[in-house]
């Protein structure tokens, strides 16, 4: 679910970058990057039965 949300957020940031105000696009981009890093850290610290 988090990956669907991230992709949806990126599509929205792209639309804002193309049509909306620049400061909003920059702010949303920063939020998405933080969410990506958080998702990665969650995955990297999770105990996995399989290695992917």
């Amino acid at each position: 679910m988090e990956f669907t949300a991230l992709l949806l957020a990126i599509a929205i940031v792209m639309l804002v970058a193309w049509r909306g105000p620049r400061p909003l696009a920059l702010g949303l981009f920063a939020a998405v990057m933080i969410a990506c890093v958080a998702t990665y850290l969650h995955h990297a610290t999770d105990t996995l039965k399989l290695s992917f």
Binding site: M14, W18, R22, A25, M33, Y40, A44, F52
Partner: protein, 184 residues
């Protein structure tokens, strides 16, 4: 490099991102290999890489827009490096099938590192930031098509990922589209 050429280069970089997203989709649909969580995160970061060029096309080239793409490329390189390292032990067959001898995450690492090098190289060209000449209409259409192509492919990925993962956590080793399985 002039502003017009820089914008054309940014449009070309969007077509490159579109090619990567299309290739990932093609592998998913033709080989019936669903992307794992780390693979999805790499796709997400390839899409994030496109936000800087979109801003460059709309507002003109700025170092801050290239910096955004650099952040996305570094994050993508970290994620793909992790996946390469997860499968580095001798005897490990790797995840998914290989393309020209390399698995998709290895290609992703090569792609992200290439993006970092190219972004650093384009940042060396200062004239693009001073030039204020308007963009010719023909090149504007070329760039606009690139922007909508990348947005469309990202939207398709939203649908595909929703079908794959459903409303719960994505499986570590996905073999079926969770939402379609539930509906059946």
């Amino acid at each position: 490099m002039t502003r017009t050429r820089a914008i054309t280069l940014n449009a070309l970089s969007l077509y490159a991102v579109a090619l990567v997203l299309t290739a990932a989709f093609a592998a998913q649909l033709t080989l019936h290999e669903l992307p794992c969580p780390l693979c999805l995160l790499q796709r997400i970061l390839f899409a994030t890489l496109a936000i800087g060029p979109i801003l460059n096309i709309r507002f003109g080239p700025r170092p801050s827009h290239y910096a955004m793409s650099l952040f996305a490329a570094v994050a993508g390189a970290v994620v793909s490096t992790r996946q390469v390292l997860l499968h580095i032990m001798p005897g490990d067959a790797g995840y998914g099938s290989a393309l020209l001898g390399y698995h998709y995450y290895t290609w992703a690492l090569i792609g992200f590192v290439a993006a970092i090098v190219l972004l650093a190289a384009i940042l060396l060209l200062d004239r693009q930031f001073d030039d204020t000449a308007p963009q010719p209409a023909s090149r504007r259409a070329f760039a606009q098509a690139a922007v909508w192509l990348v947005i469309g492919l990202t939207a398709l990925n939203v649908v595909s990922t929703l079908l794959e993962c459903g409303f719960g956590a994505c499986a570590d080793n996905p073999i079926v589209y969770e939402l379609l399985r539930r509906a059946a």
